[in-house]
Symmetry: C2
């Protein structure tokens, strides 16, 4: 055993276990670095994933490694932080013990930062047949899937078959849906037109479906209208006030009785918190999140905290919880670090107040919308702002450089060169036969 | 249908079908670009893979997309070249027809450039249990496998269990084996030491096994000795004159009766040509290659050519065929293009003569060996030469820039940042339950 390990083990500090290394988890670790705690990060992946740019991995603009960062790289300089790759199976709060697939882990303070996953609202068939975009492997599946559909379209026997391969249905017009729709429209205009000369690129149709009456419903009305204009100018078919009732992998049934054939449907219509067995006492009925007080402690579970997407805190205007976005998770994490330290010292904790710094979404080159307070703007400035904010938020210099280079290359060449089908996307029925540990 | 497609279809030229887009296939396509032939490239992947750098993808130095290039990107400017992604199942030479999983393809001239795959010499158990390194997905499997082994070592109950996780056996001390051994030794010295503080890095042992009495047996004796010196200075255990008899996924049995426990064994002890049913008439018994004349025509099969790894041409000192390396494939392709054109014009074809420009292999930073004619040298100059030659040989500016950046980052930071377990490597028994089309 090396010296460093012995030092960590013998640290005379309470153990803080952080479950999940998303935005909240990483912020907690960075905050507790060098403080009198033994910090242990548990995650089923070995890397942090920068989710806001996942859609660019899915659309072959960025490589997976430019938005992912190994946890061990982050914690390498942190003497009081360790990492274990494992799957948490159950928490036993009375015993202060976490059961994992690799053995038990005791804790003094437990911080749940498991984030969220796609919410199919109980529609199991949809869950089987639809694509989703919450992890890197899902993004790579989408990439392989649409590229395989392009190749398959060349073999289609007739126009209907070709259209089925080239119809892309996106359910949910939030930021993910809008960004995916815009990126696919760019691919049609550039890659499909130039490099699939045998195909009529007009046969590729992108449908963005939402039951609301506007896209980006969490944004200002002005930005929604702006985004809708961008999408329509790029040839995206926006179907508002429409609901998808079912999908069997080939045919989409809308609630108004209409149908459409499509090989690909991306479900981006909602998320739910990733809950852990054993903590049911803290769950808010029907919300799929843990109810927490203003200090992020889960209701009724002392020394167990939850934050970010998986936590539901009623505060001020956010009666039904904060938006499930990175800034809320990061702000909660920053305060929670201070509060944990204060509590250890017997000092009073500070209640959390969310500062909404605004929202931004990008639709295409020079096409983005920004809401910041009473300011709503779009166009080139919004687009540059979006790029700048996302570049700065990435973890690690290498990732920033990689993403910057990726964007420079894409917007100068329009080649989306990362169009590699490395692991072919195997249709869901086959895929489910294998128990791949990361599938959750 | 777009104009370009109609133009291709109506070209009044004979059809040249190229099976396989490796070094030979790409060179053929580039040579026939703009010439009076309709050229159709068939490949089961949608991208060219730069195999000489696969080991750097496997060891997390380069990302997969920096050494792969989409075929459609290459052929985009070539009006008389088309691409179809499919698996060739059988050739019917009398009917001049290729049967694929996507339908039949007629040809006037057929060029087989299918390359080679790992040769397990009939040892099926070894084929199931060993890792191999001939495709990008195999490289990513190796990457996931060794990173999972590092994580698993942290959970091992005792020293023996830890050593089993950290023993890496490489069978075959050709360039692939030597380069992998060197890269793993660098990872032990840097990543393992720095970022797995809980592990004693000396417990990671790399074993390079070969039945020959020297490493890099196709190189000069001087370079072999040089390479051996480098490997030993980096702490690689080189076992020469030793044969691996069997491996069950946990225990390696050597032919001298000794055994060793290891979770990972990489088989790099040989390759064999990828043959296509229907062309048996041209196969050389026991060689796993097609016998070709000096014009690369398969013996007895008019208008069917083979070249590169899958072809066996007796010529001059190369009585038992040329080495299965990129330069031989590229030289044959360059001449074959000229000969096909000459034959069409009724001119005499030129017989092929191989120009051996030498060999090079890299073991670590500043550690490489070069054989060029009577010149044998190592060290910094050889290492820089190796990097320059490989950079220049890559397809596409983006890939060159990516690889250059990757190397700069690696050798300045020693961080091998691309340590992402994106799709966990599932042990072979489970994996075989799925019919993944690219597995070949």
């Amino acid at each position: 055993m090396s010296k460093a390990k012995l030092e960590y083990d013998s640290l005379p500090y309470p153990t803080v276990v952080v479950v999940g290394g998303g935005f909240a988890g990483l912020e907690i670790i960075q905050g507790l670095n060098g403080k009198p705690y033994k910090v242990l990060l548990l995650d089923k992946q070995n890397h942090h994933c920068f989710q806001p740019l996942l859609y660019q991995v899915a659309t072959a603009s960025l490589s997976a490694d430019s938005i992912a960062h190994p946890f061990r790289r982050t914690i390498a300089p942190m003497a009081n932080v360790a990492f274990r790759m494992c799957t948490v199976q159950r928490v036993d709060p009375p015993a202060k013990l976490i059961h994992t697939d690799r053995g038990d882990v005791p804790y003094d303070i437990l911080i749940i930062a498991t984030g969220s996953t796609t919410n199919f609202f109980g529609n199991h068939r949809m869950e089987q047949e639809a694509m989703q975009l919450k992890s890197i492997s899902q993004a790579l599946d989408i990439r392989s899937d649409f590229l395989q559909d392009f190749e398959a379209a060349l073999y289609a026997q007739d126009e209907a078959g070709q259209r089925r391969c080239l119809n892309f249905i996106i359910v949910g017009a939030g930021p993910t849906g809008v960004e995916m729709a815009g990126a696919l429209a760019e691919i049609r205009r550039t890659v499909l037109k130039r490099e699939y000369r045998e195909l009529d690129s007009d046969r590729m149709q992108i449908w963005l479906v939402d039951s609301n009456e506007r896209v980006l419903k969490s944004f200002s009305e002005k930005s929604s209208a702006h985004a809708l204009g961008y999408l329509e100018s790029m040839g995206v078919n926006v179907k508002l006030g429409a609901r998808v009732a079912s999908y069997d992998g080939e045919v989409v049934n809308f609630q108004d009785g209409s149908t459409m054939e499509a090989n690909t449907l991306l479900w981006a219509a909602g998320v739910k918190g990733v809950l852990i067995p054993g903590l049911e006492a803290g769950e808010v009925p029907k919300a799929n999140r843990y109810g927490v007080d203003r200090f992020n402690q889960i209701n009724g579970l002392p020394d167990v905290y939850a934050l970010g997407d998986v936590a539901l805190m009623s505060e001020g205007q956010w009666e039904r919880g904060h938006p499930q976005v990175a800034p809320a998770a990061i702000q909660q994490a920053q305060l929670l670090v201070k509060n944990v330290i204060r509590k250890s010292k017997g000092e009073a904790m500070t209640p959390f107040t969310y500062t909404d710094k605004g929202s931004m979404a990008t639709i295409g080159r020079y096409k983005a919308v920004v809401d910041a307070g009473n300011l709503h703007f779009g166009g080139l400035i919004a687009w540059l702002g979006w790029m700048f904010v996302h570049l700065m938020a990435l973890v690690g210099y290498r990732n920033r450089l990689q993403v910057l280079m990726g964007w420079a290359w894409k917007y100068m060449s329009w080649k989306n060169t990362i169009r590699l089908i490395i692991r072919p996307y195997v249709r869901r029925t086959v895929q489910q036969a294998v128990e791949v540990p990361e599938s959750a």
